[in-house]
Symmetry: C2
Subunit: 447 residues, 2 copies
Amino acid sequence: MQTDKTTAGIPDKNLDINIGIIGFGYIGTEVFRLLLAQRQYIMKKTGRKLIVKSVAEKDLSKKQDLISSHKEVTFTSDPYDIINDAGIDIVVELIGGINPAYEIIISALKNGKYVVTANKDLIANKGADIFREAEKNNVDILFEASVGGGIPIIGPLKSSLASNNILKIVGILNGTTNFILTKMKENSLGFEDALKIAQELGYAEANPASDIEGKDAANKLAILASIAFNSRVHFEEVYREGIEKISISDILYADELGYNIKLLAIGSEENGKINVRVHPALVPKSHILASIKDTFNAVYFYGNYVGEIMSFGRGAGDKPTASSVVGDIISIARNFDRNNKHVIFGCTCFTHKQIMPFLETSDKFYILMDVIDRSGVLAQIAAVFGKKEVSIQSMVQKQTDASGTARLIFITHNTLNKSLYDAVAELKKINVVKKIINILRVEELES
Amino acid sequence: MQTDKTTAGIPDKNLDINIGIIGFGYIGTEVFRLLLAQRQYIMKKTGRKLIVKSVAEKDLSKKQDLISSHKEVTFTSDPYDIINDAGIDIVVELIGGINPAYEIIISALKNGKYVVTANKDLIANKGADIFREAEKNNVDILFEASVGGGIPIIGPLKSSLASNNILKIVGILNGTTNFILTKMKENSLGFEDALKIAQELGYAEANPASDIEGKDAANKLAILASIAFNSRVHFEEVYREGIEKISISDILYADELGYNIKLLAIGSEENGKINVRVHPALVPKSHILASIKDTFNAVYFYGNYVGEIMSFGRGAGDKPTASSVVGDIISIARNFDRNNKHVIFGCTCFTHKQIMPFLETSDKFYILMDVIDRSGVLAQIAAVFGKKEVSIQSMVQKQTDASGTARLIFITHNTLNKSLYDAVAELKKINVVKKIINILRVEELES
């Protein structure tokens, strides 16, 4: 039973909500199944009946079973059949990527549809445009599933934690790279071998660049940082290093020093400026983030009232992602009033903060190098570090070999990235240094 | 500027929201401070101005500084000055305990006030009455701070995760006992010594019974289970054992076996019935819950779509609790319309499920006993276990002493609590068993 009537301005809780799903792949199909399987359950909880009215998908040939068993649903190859349908209340965009998702979402918003999406690329790259359009049309666009899969992150940030100034975010936001780093450590594998296992298990794509190079995590961090720091952060503004240069030696040395290596997405606000980066880092084994294994994701926040807080769960997969997409649909449905559309959550980027130039940010470093094994070498290296204002916290000599090479690990105190790079450039010029093997950051995460 | 006007039924986003705080102790004072300090920030985020109009507290003598510096706020010793003030939109109850908080909240709801509370005793014991009254008056009562302090748990369960059937909850919901168990392990202390440190640091009260005996955790579990399983669970229905019988030996033996001991609050739904209990348990060190230390809280859920999910943070303290209280105020304020009050979240106990009798539930057990050290003893003990249908997974002999006593640790397979108790009663009767020292449960938390 569908009705547009409301009583005394109170949203009619018996009103059916009509949903159109655009994109019927892996995630779209699961959202469809969830909405059908849990319809009664959701209605009992929220008083709202969520109806999938139509589904748009370019290639429906593989979905004939679902189509023939759901005669009540309109299947179409044209997303605009949904966008231009006056009977659709919420458009769920699950095609991914920037184009044509951008045009589709903008058109849906212009037509007064509420929108739910899992599209991280779109929000991280075109967020400002999209939120402006939503606001203009008195509707919301929600995107919980774009970060951390099934883990509620954006919802809590916008509601339960909304009174906090968020000072720091540290996330393990990419399951593929976390799986690879876990496998490397647990099975003493090289990067390529671990990647191969991830590909065999379907955790990494044939072309794994987006995960491995930290692009996926950088998109997610841009979204989280925009909300946490109330200022729009774009994907390209996130400093980025991937995990491809991590070797099993780094993992073993880190372990001996008391650390696990994780691909971290870190955002912080310092003196009114935003510092955002994705890179591998040594994390103390005693910190809870170091214990996040396999394909799990986790997000750690520090808020000025709540203190430390962390959420953990499945960062990908059809069911966890569908859980978040439907959670957003429920949040919209709960307050939906067809005759009185209004923004419930809205964009929280109400200010503009500068992004700190990466070279001007500070880090603690792990530096692995091979040097000539003779007396006086350490003094020469220390002199370079000293000249460039890099202060050394510790040095360990790992091994020497017959050819007269010694392997050294330096851990620095907090130092400007610029100073560190200058020191390394200088070290490469002195002949006692045979090779700078790797430079990684150390994230102490002191609470 | 305050106005009651709305445009075309759309809630007026510029409307001030007037708040009355009842209870001005540790938490109430911090909520007051937060609302003042973050007023502009919250207004920028939500478009709503949150005004503390009045504060009620029996004894205001200690608060003269705050009173004299906030002439714009009405301070009163009578909570009914707030409840009966037509200008108050949201009543924040922070006096705790069941009486007179119950009467105060019921009266506030009858007067059409939205209510926010941190009162776990009240919700766990009088939840049904309170939600009925809220619904009758078209308002909400929110209580995020009643479980897990600053950690968003109830909000995500009611929104982002709302489409999931929650199959299991496992929480570390009491910071005091978690601190004591952490100290016992890390500093090899007995229970009494660790409790004393907790009291010295202000983490445990002079009379620590409510924490130590698991009552605090049982209240919180009753609240969570009611939401997760959509059926009202009362405090008295939660099976409960405290940590007072945990010795340093148990902690060391558990460690050798690969476990940490935690006070767990566990809820699950099995064949349509609810199994709820608070007791110490051995948790595998490889599981993330085993790594939750000190006064931190954590809640682990398993949902049929989202899979495993966990949140972690400060379970108590004025600032984290105020963060959650104000988060609830924001959730109400976001949709507040003085002329069109309506339930936004509501009670989700739409069904009635039976509570499983504890003896009919199953557990895996750790049994520590001293026996006479001679051949044939193990066979006698094994025969008793066998007769009572308790299947043994492993047995370790820890030590023997000069007096001819051997200490044994048995780990059982999953077994009915009734069978285990029967077996133990029988073992106490046979003379080769000198003493059953402790019986604890093992929570494998396999994912």
